[in-house]
């Protein structure tokens, strides 16, 4: 990543160490994750030890030290979605993408994550693709999502869950 881009972000925040979280989030937006070299560069610029940045970056869900993929699928595992079969959706996505929740496909295209409630319980079970909510999702709809992303899917018999 271009260090000038990072410096622009840091200057926007006046190189203020108390704005660390904002700086990290803005920098991450450009690269989808925070590589080690970037954290070290920010550490030098802000005069904050890299241990502090590492602590923050590992604490917050919104920050990632690993590449997170171009597209993000979040499967809601909240109570309402859970009782309506969210686990089946997650299992299917994990199987088709060949990754576990919290991981990213090797080609860095799709990241899969679970969330514990997105506040749209009436639409459950629910998956969020790049910020777009897909309610009452079932394996057929999940297939459509994956096809839209250019993925091969394993067609399965749809069993209705009421």
């Amino acid at each position: 990543m271009d260090t000038r881009q990072i410096d622009t972000v840091i200057e926007k925040y006046g190189a203020n160490p108390s704005e660390t979280i904002g700086i990290l989030m803005d920098v991450q937006e450009k690269e989808s994750y925070l590589p080690k070299e970037v954290l070290e560069h920010i550490s030098n610029k802000l005069g904050v030890p890299v241990t502090h940045l590492y602590r923050i970056a590992t604490f917050y869900e919104a920050l990632s030290l690993k590449p997170t993929g171009r597209h993000q699928i979040h499967v809601c595992m909240g109570t309402a979605c859970h009782v309506r079969g969210a686990q089946k959706i997650l299992d299917k996505l994990e199987r088709d993408l060949g990754i576990k929740a919290g991981e990213t496909t090797p080609d860095l295209e799709i990241g899969l994550k679970t969330v514990n409630c997105v506040g749209a319980c009436a639409l459950g079970p629910l998956a969020v693709l790049d910020g777009e909510y897909h309610g009452s999702i079932n394996t057929t709809k999940a297939n459509k999502l994956l096809k839209k992303l250019g993925r091969k899917v394993e067609e399965t018999e749809e069993t209705e869950t009421e």
């Binding site: 890299v50 241990t51 502090h52 602590r55």
Partner: protein, 239 residues
Amino acid sequence: MVTITIDGKQIKTEEGQNVLQVALDNGINIPHLCYHENLSFYGGCRLCLVEVTKANRTRLTASCTYPALEGITVETNTENVKKARRLVMEMILPMAPDSPKLQALASELGITEPRFHYEDPDGCINCGLCVRACEELVSANAITLANRGDTRSIEPPFQEEPLACIGCAACLYVCPTDCIKMEEKGNERRIVRWERKLEMKTCANCKRHFMPLAQIEFAMHKVREPLDAGWFDNCPDCR
């Protein structure tokens, strides 16, 4: 000056201290694991819980982070306190089941078999003393707390050998469970937990390996008055 009452004993003390400090200074023992007199307060282990009564309201709180306010009454050994401490200890002990210090504290609290268990405990109870020592006393900033919740751990950044570590061993000195180990072989020192390898300086006189080179370099930068170039050629005994 403020006056507080701890276990019925009236104590006059300076303002700005916390209850645990005042109690320890006055010979009242409150068990604690994450507090050290030379480090900042953390309130992490919750073992120093006491009952504080302020304006007729009593509550359980960690004495290491509670300020000694004028007129408060502190009870350090009520049934409530003991019950809460036992639960805390039952959760901490399985993280470091082999630590003699924890075993002694647990048996003092009457715990024989904790109800909780962890898989593969590594002896670290996440008290953060090593992190604070490294940060506040040494200011080497080699290790840090990472992650959150049940995956919380203490590790060097990126789980790699911490090149900022100067091998001073302050972390293993403050560790209450002795889970940080150090090995010395020839002129090499190894801080096992952080996987840090350091070359040691050899004393020009007695040939003892007495200090990591990284620590010498760090000390040269830290001191206000410049040291003689040859100051570290000899070990402290031969100087």
